[in-house]
């Protein structure tokens, strides 16, 4: 090939081509196929489900309608609620533990390297290994529940992974209402911040939107119901055990991210603050935390997408059939490979993809943008 071919980029493109083609098929084409499958009745007729060339009928959004409002798919709705609660607490736990550990390790205690290694090693393990060990630790009559007896206290009696207890229950059929109120709050917040920034027009538009949404939610919105029947979903306490194991595995990772961020903060800044009479607490809350905001955001996004996809940990810890620790990623697997409900499995896959894309795409965009500027 001539030099000119390389200069013009054709050569480079040809080198990239195999990878591009593979990813085009394995990522984009397969996503398209999944989306299409989710719009068919693949699996509704058991005779067709496993046929070599199944005859598929296009049924539009019917699978999605069933998942969100159908009588039999309450399990999916509980899984969605579970995964959102799980994500919230998982991110909260990893960020707070990770930040504390990072600040402490950054103080250069004796044995710094050893501490860092101990906190980070779970990240190198498989979720299946973590799940296996914690499954044993969380046996209702052993492990963690026996810990208090070592210091003479009565044993704990929490049924970690099998508890049926649920808290913070709400009626799924009122979901549109909650969304409207949430959006109204968001708009109200936007209006306030626009007003502070002196953008009156923007503030006005946001305020009117907030008002309209709020009025709709409290007025006609109340009669709009997603389901014909009340259906209560909430946070399953059985997830606490999964959360402990997940945070055990990922807190060290978060610590490593924060440590990298802390290294980027010049020492002079802290010293200057100390000279100005700031306390250590003020330095942390007023200077270091705000400077770490980009790291926090990155960590939230990375942890968030891990959490939405969580599958192997739950599988290994509680098994695929433990109702109270079910998540959509697991339900997709069971629906597809055990129930042969391919179209519905595909629909759950698409919903997961949308959830992840909503947080990842803006992140990818901003990361690539920032690089362009620098």
């Amino acid at each position: 090939m001539k030099r000119a071919t390389w200069k013009s980029g054709i050569g480079g493109f040809l080198v990239l081509l195999p990878s591009l083609a593979l990813l085009a098929v394995f990522v984009y084409w397969f996503i398209a196929k999944t989306v299409y499958s989710s719009l068919t009745d693949w699996g509704r007729d058991p005779a067709q489900a496993l046929a070599l060339k199944p005859v598929l009928r296009f049924i539009g959004l019917d699978n999605y309608r069933e998942l969100f409002t159908g009588l039999i798919d309450g399990r999916f709705r509980q899984d969605m609620v579970s995964t959102l609660f799980f994500t919230f607490f998982f991110i909260l736990g990893c960020l707070s533990l990770g930040l504390v550990l990072a600040i402490l390790v950054d103080r250069k205690p004796r044995g710094e390297g050893l501490f860092r290694s101990i906190f980070l090693f779970p990240f190198s393990l498989s979720f299946v290994v973590t799940g296996t060990i914690w499954r044993w630790l969380l046996q209702p009559k052993g492990g963690i529940n026996r810990l208090p007896t070592l210091v003479g206290l009565p044993p704990g009696d929490f049924a970690w992974l099998t508890s049926r207890q649920q808290v913070w229950r709400f009626d799924w059929s009122l979901l549109p209402l909650f969304f409207a109120l949430l959006l109204a709050l968001l708009f109200a917040f936007l209006a306030l911040s626009a007003l502070r920034a002196g953008r009156r027009r923007g503030a006005g538009i946001a305020a009117v939107s907030a008002l309209l949404l709020g009025l709709w939610a409290l007025g006609p919105g109340r009669s709009l119901k997603l389901l014909d029947f009340p259906e209560l979903h909430g946070f399953n306490l059985a997830f606490i055990g999964i959360l402990v194991a997940a945070i055990w595995q990922m807190a060290g990772y978060t610590m490593a991210l924060y440590l990298a961020g802390l290294r980027g903060i010049p020492e002079e800044l802290r010293e200057a603050a100390l000279v100005d009479g700031a306390t250590e607490w003020q330095i942390h809350t007023r200077i270091i935390l705000p400077l770490l905001a980009p790291v926090t955001l990155s960590a939230m996004i990375i942890l968030g997408h891990i959490s939405l996809k969580i599958f192997d940990l739950v599988f290994a810890m509680a098994g695929p059939d433990n109702g109270s620790t079910d998540v959509p990623a697991l339900l997709m697997f069971i629906t597809t490979f055990r129930g042969n409900q391919f179209a519905k499995g595909a629909a759950i896959g698409v919903i997961l993809l949308v959830l992840v894309a909503v947080i990842i795409l803006p992140y990818l965009r901003s990361q690539l943008r920032r690089e362009e500027l620098s």
Binding site: G9, I10, G11, G12, F13, L16, S19, L20, L23, F26, W29, F30, T34, S37, L97, V100, V105, K108, F115, S117, L120, F121, S124, L125, S126, V128, V129, G131, T132, I133, R135, W136, L137, Q139, K141, G142, G143, R146, A256, L257, A260, E280, W281, V295, A299, I302, H305, D312, F315, A316, P328, A329, F333, F337, G349, L353, I360, L364, L368, E371
Partner: protein, 279 residues
């Protein structure tokens, strides 16, 4: 760290450093302790009431039993992780070389196009993937899994190499070019010899990820080609398990990646940062 002294770090702390570190250490090592004592007990001595106590006598036979049962699965995992890692690292290196040193109009967009594959929940491609692997006759074969891990590893390997090569001065590439070296000549004589640190990062990262992976492994393998993660999940998921075997098995499954982590911790952290904080 430059200019950071122990003296300052010890002055006026809001929290006590060592007690908190000690408590955290306990939390992180508790499962390790439990795994070891359970694996080393006689099966008959394992019961919930005395789960925390040390074994009365050391019993190593659980490890040999687990090893005997897991040996074929460990072999599968090694074949899978080593071949998929090698191929995805080589492809990623070439891709990164093009994207950083031979960028062309639209190459940034193509890079973004490749990166997205890193984040998707694999549930969104699992059904067509399953059909595809079956159609090309690789279902139940370790090579089907190799193919899958190569493809879905491409985004991260390309990303790490691209960012690494961006640090190599363009002038170095240009001067070699004047000397008459072409695309592959420059790669062979300039870029590749400088790539070792990036290869270490990528190899460690990919090996760990592929070794630990479960969703593809459980969907695309059969008992003959099962990687270790699937075998472990099945062993510990069975009813009325004797816990010495799953614990010994967990240790065996963890050992390779743990060893990589202990030996190459620095590079491991670099891979971890590359996978999150980009640009």
């Amino acid at each position: 760290m430059r200019g950071r002294t122990r003296g300052r770090a010890r002055a006026s702390q809001p929290w006590p450093t060592y007690p908190v570190l000690a408590a955290a250490t306990c939390f992180f090592l508790l499962p390790v302790y439990m795994m070891l004592v359970t694996a080393l007990k006689q099966p008959i001595d394992i019961n919930l009431d005395t789960a925390w106590s040390l074994p009365a006598s050391l019993n190593w036979s659980s490890f040999s039993q687990a090893l005997a049962a897991f040996l074929p699965k460990l072999r599968n995992s090694f074949v899978l992780a080593i071949s998929a890692t090698a191929i995805s690292a080589l492809l990623g290196s070439l891709n990164g070389y093009v994207l950083s040193k031979w960028a062309f109009p639209g190459s940034r967009a193509l890079f973004a196009f490749m990166l997205f594959g890193m984040f998707i929940p694999y549930q969104a491609i699992l059904i067509p993937l399953f059909g595809f692997i079956k159609a090309i006759g690789l279902y139940g074969s370790i090579w089907g899994l190799v193919l899958v891990h190569v493809v879905y590893g491409l985004p991260i390997t390309t990303l790490i190499f691209r960012n690494y090569y961006a640090e190599i001065p363009d002038s170095l590439v240009e001067s070699t070019q004047i000397d008459g070296a072409g695309f592959f000549g420059i790669y062979r004589w300039v870029v590749f010899p400088l790539s070792m640190p990036a290869f270490v990062v990528v190899v460690i990262w990919q090996f760990t990820q592929i070794w630990n992976e479960f969703l593809f492994a459980v969907s695309l393998s059969n008992p003959g080609s099962q990687p270790i993660t699937v075998a472990l999940a099945q062993l510990s998921g069975g009813e009325a398990v004797k816990w010495n075997l799953p614990m010994a098995g967990a240790l065996l499954a963890a050992l390779p990646t743990l060893l990589v982590y202990v030996l190459f911790g620095k590079y491991f952290i670099r891979g971890l940062l590359a996978g999150s904080v980009k640009g």
